[in-house]
Amino acid sequence: MAKAKIYAGLEIGTSKICVVVGEVDADGSIKILGIGQAPSRGVRKGEIVDFETAQTCLHDALVQAEEKTDVMIGNVYLAITGAHIESLCNRGSIRIPDGPGANEITEEDLDEVRDLARDVSLPQQNVFLHSIIRDYYVDGQEKVQQPVGMFGKVVEADYHIIHGIKTRMQNTIRCVREIPISVDEVVFSPIAAAQVMLSKEQKDRGALLIDIGGGTTDYVMYLGGSVAQSGCIAVGGDHITNDISMVMKVPLTRAERLKIEHGSAMVQDKGQDEFIVLEDDPHFSGLEIDKVMLNKIINARISETFEQLRDRIMKDDDIAALGAGVFLTGGSSKLKEIDKLAEEIFSLPVSLASISSMSGATAPFENPQLATPMGLIRYAQMIEANKTEKTNPFKLFRKKLGGLFGGSSLIENNN
């Protein structure tokens, strides 16, 4: 019996740095051993702007995680995000040569079709982060899951390609490396979060996961079980706080508290001329805040972000095709009535995502802020499972997960 393996997932977020340590049993079940968290400084919009400061915070979080779990963290799965990360879908197609005993599709053919699909012109400074297989088509037959061994003349593959600016991704990696901790894999945040926030059934029916963090709003949309779109809008909870601070003319710390304690994404009906009294302190003279006004500011920001997201998605896909609806996660999804607002804008059922497919005592970790690092553990387990399968003699399963998430050449390049 194979023994349990321990993984660590790390997310360097705009508002907090979070390390989750999880144990994966031989049967694939995941148990969270503990987490380490530290407020993040030196990070703006999901990307490190102040190296030294961010590193100090990262160190704090790691030490905390190590203490709590009694695990030495030597390598991590790292989640990254940033407005520079973009995605696209591309199709590659090859013709299987005729010949004696030919027309049978082989692994090599699939590798070739994959290379073709990935052969898109990226901006010069960009590199692939992920290329995820969506569907195979064999002679026009749609949604072939496993074409190896089938007969066909033309094989096509749809790949979802996520790419970003190489140097900017490397900066985050370098920050971790200098701790020093090695980075096993770099994962685009929403892809990681979706591993735990969406069930297979939801992915099949079509779901949109929106992770509203401190500095960015990341999203991934699944259609027919595979990733159709993903991306990042560099607007998050920080913006809401900043908006409140600027419009109301209150300090940022006060604005943050107003947002958390009194804020709501929906503007209440009139008749409620409620005021929030801000106590004065040595640096700030007291103020009365109109609650309707406060919510209007929040509402304007979130609806704008949702509308942008919707418009982005609608460019390529019909949002109405999402059978399972919209799922919200991330720290800012704790904002009151944000689901109602999302329902209004997307005209789809909206729910606050909860962590699925984790065994053990997950209750203490039921926090949307932890979605991404938790997802990283699941992701790690899938990658690992994939690796072991490759050495498995049962060829049929070999490619089932193969190529699912391949493509990150960042780590090698960074050496």
Partner: protein, 466 residues
């Protein structure tokens, strides 16, 4: 760091200054000319002012003056009647023709809407074309408060100008007016408009006249401005210091016509011309162009030019010229000078064609040159003493602004909004930035949508503005 290799002989193959004529027509035109004469230091061309109103004519600082329709108006203005302006110009045609003979590049500045500008400008443009010059028009459209009548006159004159010029840059006074401080008087609003046109003329002359490592020619100018009957986008920024590439871009984007760079993504082609001293590095050019490309549509055609000019010393300047048009705007007029022909006018001259040497930040005493205390400059300031005193005035007024700029601080939105003096500084950030700062994101990378909206500014504030 990679140094740009300089051409062995700098200063060669520029446009001969005697072949360039800058004409101001009517009251607005002569104001622009005054501004050019005083502040832009046009070494590159002769200034000519045409007017029906003899009083205006007398007060102009241009070296050449032609009174239009002496007998017709008896030295009075055209009284807001374009027909009278047109007739006056036609009656003086011979004189105008004589003045334009042999010119290869003619700039015509006029304020449309009034009598002389609207009436005479098309006539003059036509004459200039007939003598074989490449004609670039700079026209202002009246403020909407000037009334419907004037707007109609301006529009019909605009149509005529389009036919008669090779390239036309249209400046909407409303736009410039609305972007300056609400408290400003009308004088200042007009003066701001003049200032921008003056800058454009100076920059364009410099652009086409200056020898370049990567040259921008008339052909490029035509491409960038091919959306006729459109709004012209123009930005100019200059900076020095460690971060000069970014600073210059920032200053250029602050120009009201660019609306903080947000207008740029609507344009299909634009000129980006970088001019710097010997210390300009390829790396800086690369940074600047990379930054600029963020504001520009992916498909847009960027006509890129670099020139190096010793006079600029440590400073680096960026000129952005483009236009955005109404859908289906008219095609290019047949240019008098073809792309090939444009080389003909680049006669080599000794010296160099630097229209604005005084902008160098490195030289403190000089940079205050953009006198802008809110008034149209006093006429007849031709001797340097008076100009100096003027400079001192603005020096005091500008000092706050100056400090913040020199300390290399990032955009101090709110400060600039409130200070009247923010209107003008050496960096040409003459108009305050868009209302509504970005708070804590001031120093972060901006998040701008494809539509050009700055997402760091509170949505609430943006929504209210709409």
């Amino acid at each position: 760091m990679l140094e740009y290799e300089r051409k062995p002989a700098d200063g060669e193959s520029a446009l001969a200054p005697e072949k360039v004529k800058v004409i101001g027509i009517g009251g607005a035109g002569s104001n622009v000319l005054d501004r050019i004469a005083l502040h832009e230091r046009m070494d590159d061309g002769e200034l000519l002012v045409l007017n029906t109103d003899v009083r205006d004519l007398v007060s102009s600082v241009a070296e050449d003056k032609i009174q239009l329709g002496k007998e017709l108006t008896q030295g009075l203005g055209a009284g807001g009647d374009p027909d009278l302006g047109k007739e006056a110009a036609q009656k003086t045609e011979d004189e105008i023709r004589a003045a334009l003979e042999g010119k290869s590049l003619v700039f015509i500045c006029a304020g449309l809407g009034g009598g002389t500008g609207s009436g005479a400008a098309p006539v003059v443009a036509k004459i200039a074309r007939e003598v074989g010059a490449f004609v670039v028009g700079f026209v202002t459209m009246p403020f909407s408060f000037e009334g419907r009548r004037r707007l109609e006159q301006a529009e019909s004159a605009l149509v005529q100008m389009e036919k008669c010029t090779n390239a036309l840059m249209t400046f909407d006074n409303d736009r410039m007016g609305s972007l300056i401080n609400q408290k400003e008087g009308i004088q200042q609003a007009f003066a701001a408009a003049d200032q921008i046109i003056g800058q454009s003329v100076g920059a364009i002359t410099k652009l086409v006249a200056q020898p370049g490592l990567v040259r921008i020619g008339m052909d490029d100018l035509l491409t960038a401005l091919k959306n006729e009957s459109s709004r012209c986008l123009f930005g100019f920024g200059q900076a020095s210091g460690d971060n000069r590439a970014q600073e210059a871009l920032k200053a250029a984007l602050k120009n009201p016509l660019l609306d903080r760079g947000q207008m740029l993504n609507q344009s299909s082609s634009l000129i980006a011309h970088i001019s710097g001293g010997e210390t300009t590095t390829l790396w800086e050019v690369e940074i600047l162009m990379n930054e600029l490309s963020k504001y520009v549509n992916d498909d847009a055609h960027i006509l890129f030019g670099v020139s190096s000019d010793k006079k600029q010393g440590e400073s680096l300047s960026l000129t952005i010229i483009s236009s955005i048009g109404k859908a289906g705007s008219s095609q290019l007029n047949e240019p008098v000078l073809d792309i090939e022909d444009s080389s003909e006018i680049e006669e080599p001259i000794e010296g160099e064609g630097d229209a604005e040497p005084e902008f160098g930040l490195s030289d403190d005493s000089d940079k205050e040159d953009s006198v802008f205390s809110g008034e149209v400059p006093e006429p007849f300031i031709s001797d340097s003493d008076e100009e100096d005193s003027d400079e001192e005035d603005s020096d005091e007024e500008d000092s706050d602004e100056e400090d913040s700029d020199e300390e290399d601080s990032d955009e101090e939105d709110s400060d600039e909004e409130d200070s009247d003096e923010g209107l003008q500084s050496h960096q040409q950030d003459l108009i305050p930035e868009k209302k509504g700062g970005r708070g804590r994101f001031d120093k972060a990378e901006p998040t701008v949508t494809d539509e050009g909206e700055d997402l760091d500014v509170p949505s609430f504030l943006r929504k209210k503005k709409k």
